[in-house]
Homo-oligomer: 453 residues x 2
Amino acid sequence: MGKEGLVIVGGVAAGLAAAMEARRHAPDLPVNVFERTGDISYGACGLPYVVAGLIPSPDSLVLHTPEYFRERHSIEVKLNCEAVELLPSKSVLRVRDGEGEREVGYDSLVLATGAAAVCPPLPGRDLEGVFVLRHMRDGRRMLRYFEEARPRTAVVVGAGYIGLEMAEAFRARGLNTTLVEASDRVMGALGGRARDAVADELRAGVVEVLFGERVSAFEGRGTRVERVLTESGRALAADVVSIGVGVRPEVALAVAAGIEVGESGAVRTDERQRTSAPGVYAAGDCCEVLNKVSGRRVWHPLGQPAVRQGWVAGANAAGRDSSPEARYAGVVGTNAVKVFGLEVARTGLSLEEALEAGFEALEVESESHTRAGYYPGGSKILTRVVADARGRLLGAQLVGREGVAQRVNVFAAALHAGLKVDEVERFDLAYAPPFAPTIDPIIRAAHEARKKG
Amino acid sequence: MGKEGLVIVGGVAAGLAAAMEARRHAPDLPVNVFERTGDISYGACGLPYVVAGLIPSPDSLVLHTPEYFRERHSIEVKLNCEAVELLPSKSVLRVRDGEGEREVGYDSLVLATGAAAVCPPLPGRDLEGVFVLRHMRDGRRMLRYFEEARPRTAVVVGAGYIGLEMAEAFRARGLNTTLVEASDRVMGALGGRARDAVADELRAGVVEVLFGERVSAFEGRGTRVERVLTESGRALAADVVSIGVGVRPEVALAVAAGIEVGESGAVRTDERQRTSAPGVYAAGDCCEVLNKVSGRRVWHPLGQPAVRQGWVAGANAAGRDSSPEARYAGVVGTNAVKVFGLEVARTGLSLEEALEAGFEALEVESESHTRAGYYPGGSKILTRVVADARGRLLGAQLVGREGVAQRVNVFAAALHAGLKVDEVERFDLAYAPPFAPTIDPIIRAAHEARKKG
C-alpha cells in the first residue's frame, strides 16, 4: 500500500464502517473520507422520531464527530467536500470544497455515495414546506420550518416505511394528517389483511388513509404549500408535505467513471465489494447486494447491510482479502417498521417476488396469538409464509402488536440456513405464558404452510 | 386396529395432544383417556399468574372440558381414574376409580403420566401452608389457603423458573417475600452477571434473595406454617411457603411394567415415542427427548416438547408411522421466564453442560442495547454465547428487559440448523430504531464469540 492510501467517498454508515475496518486491519494506512454534506456518522433512520419530538434534537442521532475519527483513529474526514470526478485509470479522485477543486490520489477507493430520495417532477414541488426526508439537513430544514410556519395540516405521500413513520410523527405533533398512496399496498409489498391491519392502525391513530390515489400537484399560497391535489380531483389541506415515494442509488460519480451498474441501477459489486474498476470498491445504499433467497443481485438500501458492506469493503481495501471478514454473504431481505402500536416486518421474498424470480411459490396466511391465551395483554399476530412447491421457505411477513420484529428474525435465520417449512415447524422455541402460546405463531404458520405445500 | 383401540394415561398437554392427533388420523379409532386428577386440558404454566391475581381464576387456564372431547371428537375422558398397573404382555391396563378397579384392553397405549414436583423430606413439610405448585388442584388449594389464612409473609424455596414466578406472584399479592436458593445460580444454570441481573431485579421488586442457603425445616404454630429454618441458622417468617426445587418424572407405572427408563430417570423412547414395550408409547414430562445439540437423550420437561411428543405418539399409535409427523426431531433446549420486568432465556447448552458433554467449549459474554441508542425506552441486553473450538454454536443465554424471549429463538433456529457463530454473525436481521440497533445484539454476540474462538 503506497502513501496515497485509502479514499472513501461518503461519511455516513457504509463509508465510516469501511474507514474503521480498514484502520483495524492497517494501523498505518492513510484514510481520507470526503463527505459532501456537513454531517457524518448519524442515524438517518432516527429522523422521523426527531420530527415526532420523541428524540430531542437531530444532534442526538450523531454517533461520532470528525474530531473523534481524527484523534482516536487517525481517519481524516473532510466535510462539505464533494467528489466531482473519479478517474480509475489514473487512481485519482477530483474533489471540490469551499477552496476550490483538487485531485487526490489513492491506492484504493470506496464509493459510499448512498441513495437519494426520489422527488416526482410535479408542479409545486419546490414550494416551501414540501420535503423529502433523507439526510440530516432535511431533518433540520423540516424542524426549522415547523418553528416558522407552525403547520396544522400535513400530507404524507407514499406508504413506504418512511411514509408510515412520518404519518405517525406528524400525528405526534398534533397535525391533521392524510397519507396518500398510489398503489393498494403498504411498504411496497404488503397487501390483503396485512395492508388492512396497517391501514386500520393508521386510522385508529387518526390518519386519513387514501389508497389508489395519485398526487398531481402541490399548490401554495405565496411561496408556501397549502394543498395537495390528486388525479381523482381531491384537494387535501397541507401546510407541510413529506414525500416518501422511493429512493434511487447515487451512482452519477460511478457511471461517469465507467463503472458497471447492475440491472437495478445500483453499482454492481462482487462478494468482496469490488466494482468493475480495479482498486474501487462500493458499499451501502449506492450498490447492489446478493439476495441469498433468489440468488440475484438486488438493490436493498438499508442500514444493516450498508454497515456490513462497509466492513467488507474496508477489509479488502486494507489488503485483508483472504480473511472471511472480507466477503459478504448477502442478505435475505429483512425489514421492520413500527406504525403506532403495530409492528410490521418481512424477510425473504413476497409471493409476487418469488413468482417473478421463477419459483413455483405459494403463500399461506395464519393468525395466532402473541401470548398464552389466558395471559393478559396478548394480541393477534398475522403471519404469511411463502414457500416453494418442495416446501423450501422463501419468505415471511408478520403484522402484530408485539414480538413481530424479533419473530421475523427466526424466519430470517431459517432462510440463511436454507431450511424447509417442516424444519421450521420443528423448531424448539421459547415458551412462557407472557411471551408466547405453547405453540409459537412461527410454528403454527410453518405448520399451515407445510400442510398446504 | 382392533376394537380396544387407543388408551392414554394422563389428560393434560401430551395426553390430549396424542388423543387429538390419533383422532385426526383415525376417525373411527376408540380413544380413552384416563386422568388421575379431576382436571384435564389446562395450562399449568399459568398457575403462578393465577396466584398473582393477574388471571382471575384457575378455570381460566382450562382449554377444553371432557364433554368437548366426547361430543366434538369422540374421545372418552375419565376423570379421577388412576392407572394402577400396566401389563404390556397382555395389552391390559388396570385402572381404579370411585367404583373400584377394572381392566381395560388396548391396541396401543400412550403413557403421558407427567412429572411430580419434588418435595424434600424436611421436618414440617406437611404443615398447612407449605405448597408445591404443580397441578391445578395445588393452585386451587393455595388460593383457598390465601382466603382462609390471609398470609402476610412468604418464603419461596428454589430459584428455578417456578420459584422466580412465585416470588413475583407473592409480591403481587403484597406479601413480604424471601427467596431461598441452595446454589449460587438461578434457573439451574445461570451464574455470573446473568444471575446478578436476576437477583437485582428480584430485589428491586422487594424480594429478599438468599443464595447458598439450604432450608432445614418448616416450623408452625398449630397446624400452620410460621417459619422456615435454614442450615445457617436463619429463621424466615413464612405464613405461606412455595417449594420449587425440582420435578421428577412420574414413571412408577412404567417401571413396574418393566419398561426401560433412561439414565435421566425418565422413560426411554425412540424418535417415534415408542417405549421398550410393544404397543406402548410415552410422551411429555414422563419421558426423555433427544437434545440435538449434545446428541444425548435427556429429560427436558416443558410444555412445547410435551405437546409435540403427544402429536408424534398419537400419530404412531393411530398407525400413521410412515408420516413425517410421526417422528420427533428433538429439542435444542429452549426456555424463557419473566421475572418482574426482566426476561431471561436460554437455548442449547450452557458452558458447563457443553464441557460435560465432551465439547471443547468456550463462552463469550457481551452487552448490547435493545434499540437504537438514540431511541427512547431501550435497555441493556446481556448475551452469552457458547461455542466449540471450531466455532459451532452450542448455546446462548440472554437477559434483558425486552426482546429476549424472541431473540433466543434466533439462536434456537441456528442450533437446529447446526450453524457456526460466523454464520450467525452474518444474519440479515430486522433493523428499525424502536426494535434494535443497526447491529443487533445477536450479531454482536456472535461476532464476539467468533473473534474469541
